[in-house]
């Protein structure tokens, strides 16, 4: 199977504010089978303790830019899962 022939990729996931409290983590490294999307990383987060309390479609940013859950991940990406914004 060509898809699993590629080595797993590693992304750094950042959690903030209420989500950091929920998971008890500010950041975590995830190793994902290729090809991987933001949605796949979110599935892995949900398996962590407290991860079931994340909303169905949290706001996400990849390398400092807002993205949809179907955005593809590359090795070394920084994925941020953002609670409801409250600036301003």
């Amino acid at each position: 199977m060509p898809a699993s022939a590629a080595p797993p990729l590693t992304v750094r996931v950042l959690l903030f504010a209420s989500y950091a409290d929920t998971l008890g983590l500010d950041s975590v490294e995830l190793s994902l089978e290729q090809p991987a999307t933001v949605g796949h990383a979110l599935e892995r987060l949900r398996a962590l303790p407290g991860g079931d309390r994340l909303p169905p479609k949290p706001l996400c940013a990849l390398n400092l830019t807002h993205v949809r859950p179907d955005a593809p991940l590359s090795g070394g990406d920084e994925l941020a899962v953002l609670p409801p914004l409250a600036g301003g």
Binding site: K57, A61, P84, G87, G88
Partner: protein, 158 residues
């Protein structure tokens, strides 16, 4: 870099940064800390941020405003512990035409609220603490908000 600060926001200093002899109209907006939220008395707020993305997103918002209208824009958001009445965010837009100054100023504050990753934790008079927007209602609102932000970004970046 420079959209985030932990110091008090100095409005005249921001105005001075965009004012010029050809930009006679200067519109500004200040968001200050209110003393109530959802009917509860707020004692102070603690703002936190995803700093590098705040800088990137604010730079994009300012660039968008300055490309759409003939304006010079400055934007500053304070984080850390803020007291009631403190200014949390300031936007100043200067233009030869006051219409563009107003429209650009409004655009920037709306986009900041919609797109910039800053959070606030309210400390209530009774000592309890709560993330703003993180309650059950917040999660539902978030879902809608997420779709709006990413839909807009999908268009803007595709």
């Amino acid at each position: 870099m420079g959209y985030l600060t932990t110091s008090p926001i100095d409005l005249p200093e921001l105005v001075a940064r965009v004012q010029s002899p050809v930009r006679g109209g200067i519109a500004s907006f200040l968001g200050t800390v209110r003393n109530h939220h959802g009917g509860r008395a707020v004692a102070r707020l603690e703002y936190s941020a995803y700093g590098p993305m705040v800088e990137a997103e604010c730079a994009r918002i300012v660039a968008e405003a300055q490309s759409r209208w003939k304006v010079a824009v400055v934007l500053e958001h304070r984080i850390g512990v803020l007291q009631i009445g403190d200014t949390a965010v300031a936007v100043v837009a200067a233009s030869p035409h006051r219409d563009e100054a107003f429209v650009a100023c409004r655009y920037v504050i709306e986009e900041v609220k919609r797109r910039v990753p800053i959070w606030k934790r309210e400390v209530y008079a009774d000592g309890s603490v709560e993330w703003v927007g993180a309650a059950a209602g917040g999660a539902a609102a978030q879902q809608g908000g997420e779709q709006q932000v990413t839909a807009d970004f999908g268009e803007a970046t595709s």
